[in-house]
Symmetry: D2
């Protein structure tokens, strides 16, 4: 049994890691950290895990963690992540980092959207953790940068189309909608129930930091530099992302022709589900699971492709994909611990 | 006091008309019809109006309605509307029709998206009821076709841009999100709380019947035929539409330059509110009111304009705008009965 | 026109006062205070009032407020209220205070549930502001203590039964359920959308500070000391309180006999609505309005009365009732500015 | 591998059985029936199970089901259940019935609250399926009547108190609150999102059919006839029941003394979790899981016990408990397939 720790266990992605790891058959959860709740059992913070675990939140100190764990998930804010991850890598631990700090290969791009990068050498080592695209590198990786939630939904939807040159990459618009857990577990006014319920709005339009991450991966797929328009929105729900993605087709294609191409591309993928064209994806159908559901329509009057992509932002968009990456890095069966049937309704 | 009737009073737009008309200072609500609840006081159907009115639902029969009313709102399903509206017009009543039946000037377009039109001659008489665009014709109209909810949000957002040739009309994509009341008060599985809550999805992608209505008005504004891509989505909330609209700019423009143009266009409009660029519209800010809130961002990296438009689908998107039209048709102050401060939170 | 100010305008009850007062025909809103947003127009804090008012949040300073206002609403946290209200009263202003500070006539009870009272002499002057019970005293009052939201719903439900000795007051249990706006506009973890949505729970069981306030008024009605059990719960919705109240009947009574007694008691009350026994109250039916809807059932097998009481906690449970009190204090028609038809759905 | 069928698979409890059984390590799901969707794969009805199963809905015909299955869950409306269950029992199958038809031991009580019972002899054979109370009988049973959702939450909360004579059973009041999935998957107006969201109300007050079921079990526990007051309410959420239960203590007891008694009673129970008194149960903490979370407070001023009980109505309140019963009937480890960590948030 690999001994696994979760750094930053009392945020929502941290708790979701705990939920998944408590039922993982091949690992043992051995350490949790939380600056805010040091000394408290995790079940006092989240009564959902009463009777499930007696693990107590500890401080983020390298030595005890290195002693207790063989593998770490770091679920910290960006900037904090790049301060602590190098220390664990040096001590020989494998790490899946859920922050943005190791997702952008080019430190200049990181600097442009975030701030100065303090561990740029690790960027070359880090692998961008979408297993459906980078499985072999992930298997060999010491550090995996777990993708952002929006990028996961957008990249998986566009990959087969870009790879097969079905669309003009200059016309890509991603209009994404996310549940509130994407904003994390911070006590801020804009995340209050009273502010969110019966409300729908866009935010950070043209400025969201997930943009360069998408463009990096989409450029790799297209073989040339891709610049997109990305608009995130906030939905009055807890979990789930639906991305509606528009692009002009390079030549007329029917929905079934596109299905053939997508089916080829994702033939062996357990966690990507392709919908028939009369049954579009919805967030409720992936709730609690590691699936990414894809569907599409062709707007023949405009020769545009409209892709629809649904994930649970805390599972395939964060902690589920992180476990999937861990499984690969540990040489385990990729789906262990994350074969969850979505909960509906 | 003008005597006013509501045909189809027990749907959601019908009840919203009742709510607004009960407080209108210059009209008297004199008749309500509902096939389903004939003989029942409306407060038994909607206890929200207990003690507010004793009006009883009657059958849809021309003669008693012509005796009781000078003015009618018809809040019926399409097809049913075109069967009954002509009779009331012939008898000299003025009508605001909330269905789709008189919105499309060209009966062939109606046939293409709906079915054969049985009252095509009335189409020439009917005025498309967006007061901000067609005020003078509405004042003289006998029959006003009240716009659809999605079209109201999209047309008001695009009008200044198209009129001033700011955008390339071949690039327009309207990604709209609506609360569930837009689906009406029908007992269908897909509108159940259990199916909608914690769920977000697109529907009728490339096929929604509000498309030709938008294209008709946008073409009038552009001075040439406009074909758009329109994608409606269902949001787990009761009221509200937010439309996110994309189009390529014909030349680089700053957000403030656009503000000047929009400010000119809507200078005298009471119900359109322009947001500063750091304060984007949201549906909660217009809840219960007749406002249309507009905002925008320029994606400089792509030279795209992103417009954001928020309305309450039952007020500015239906019954509020219908009352606004009635006020104009009766020569009353346009805002009577609909000067409602949005309810927040 | 009476010039009116709102002290603490950027909480939810503050904004609700603004919403109501902006449409009040006989007063003029002249000052708003907010410690947090000094110098900012209220519409920047709440874009729902863009174009509705240009009032700017000012600091809480007595002199400018006394100059600008004839009447004040204080919507401050308890303790802060009793520090500032005496100053305004001394300067001759009339005040409706929405905090708990002047609700309890006995300073010892206040001390027991809150802390030491620093303005105990004002307690004798203050009138408990439920107009349906204390109308004449409110008309003559300089300071009205606006009731808590839970107490309003519970007291109005029990008043006729206690006054007419229908129930054994030793058996009263009030099981109340409230929307989240009752917790105010504070950025706390427990009010996050992610924590509240799809969640239902009790809180402060046996300890809620509204208990003594209910007992004070219920004792007045019963003519002897009443001690109740009160359990508040949090409902995943924004507005609304439903109280389910249990008590043993002193003698067998039918639902219709009870209706007669309640009808007598509330015969002239505009804002209390009695439901027929086949149509129980619900929070949605009073949303946005100043109504208190009452219904009941007799559990014959146990000889228990079950009362149901619904209000909008921000209107009849706070700001609407505050305006009702102001109207009485200013000698205006009691219902001015608060005759709102509930918004449904 | 036991071959298991689900009769009535396209209701919400049916789908929840499918979700659980698809991951059960010791059974194989071999048949699903649904009158409405005969011939359709279940994933077309519920896209949440795309790629999870190819099972097709078949008609409810005895012979093919007897061939395909060793064990059945019947998730049918009451009345329909008692028409079909006897046939399966006669053919040697074991059955867990999720309807109300076999829960009441006395056919006269069934007749009083429902209608004439057509299979009264089976009533003596049927075991009421709360494993925590009737484990040994369930192990030997051929037919288990799976309890109602409300009764599960109320009975588990009261059992230790009644068994140990802590409370006066004449004073029991159960005020229960349920999510909307309890109303089933029927297209009815009152379950629409627009009618339920931002709404809270009581329903079937004094008349709910779960009352006799609770009284039967509570009487068994008390050793004498118990008559309670039960009030169900509808919460704007999908899943979850919280019951708040009041009763007078027979002698003063502290919260910790009660904890000792409850701890004894439920010492070996995996699915009952006792909360410390500063951490009350909430529905979100059991979401998706088979737990029943219990907490309590003593209202010393009234000598009343207030019990709080939270379950997921579709799991411990229905399908999870049904699987728990199946495990016992098949001689399997009781928790197989239902050891689910609650999903939070």
């Amino acid at each position: 049994m690999t001994r696994v720790g979760v750094i930053g266990a009392t945020g929502y992605t941290g708790l979701e890691l705990v939920r998944l790891l408590l039922r993982h058959p091949k690992i043992k959860l051995t350490a949790l950290t939380s600056e805010r709740y040091v000394g408290q059992p995790i079940w006092q913070v989240f009564p959902s895990v009463i009777k499930e675990t007696d693990l107590v939140c500890q401080a983020l100190e390298v030595e005890p963690l290195v002693q207790a764990c063989d593998f770490l998930f770091t679920a910290l804010p960006h900037k904090t992540a790049m301060e602590v991850v190098p220390g664990f890598i040096q001590r020989g631990l494998k790490v899946v980092d859920l922050s943005a700090d190791f997702r952008l290969a080019d430190p200049k791009v990181y600097e442009e959207w975030y701030e100065t990068h303090t561990a740029p050498t690790l960027l070359q080592e880090a692998v961008y953790g979408i297993p459906e695209l980078h499985r072999e590198e992930i298997k060999r990786a010491t550090l995996v940068a777990n993708p952002g939630c929006y990028p996961t939904s957008v990249i998986l939807a566009l990959a087969p189309a870009l790879k097969n040159k079905l669309i003009n990459h200059r016309t890509i618009i991603a209009d994404s909608k996310s549940g509130v857990s994407g904003a994390g577990r911070s006590a801020v006014l804009s995340s209050l129930f009273t502010e969110v319920s019966e409300n729908f709005k866009a935010y950070k339009v043209t400025e969201h930091r997930h943009t360069p991450e998408m463009e990096q991966e989409l450029s790799r797929l297209a073989g040339e530099k891709v610049v997109i328009t990305f608009t995130p929105h906030l939905v009055p729900m807890k979990r789930g992302i639906l991305s509606t993605i528009y692009a002009s087709l390079t030549k007329p294609l029917s929905e079934n022709e596109i299905l053939d191409i997508y089916r080829d591309f994702y033939a062996k993928e357990k966690f990507v589900r392709l919908h028939p064209s009369d049954l579009l994806p919805s967030t409720a159908d992936v709730f609690g699971s590691n699936y990414c559901d894809l569907g599409w329509k062709v707007d023949k009057r405009n020769n545009r492709l409209i892709l629809l992509s649904a994930i649970d932002n805390l599972v395939k968009g964060a902690s589920g994909q992180a476990v999937q990456n861990m499984n690969l890095m540990l040489g385990l069966e990729e789906s262990l611990g994350i074969e969850i049937v979505p909960i509906y309704p």
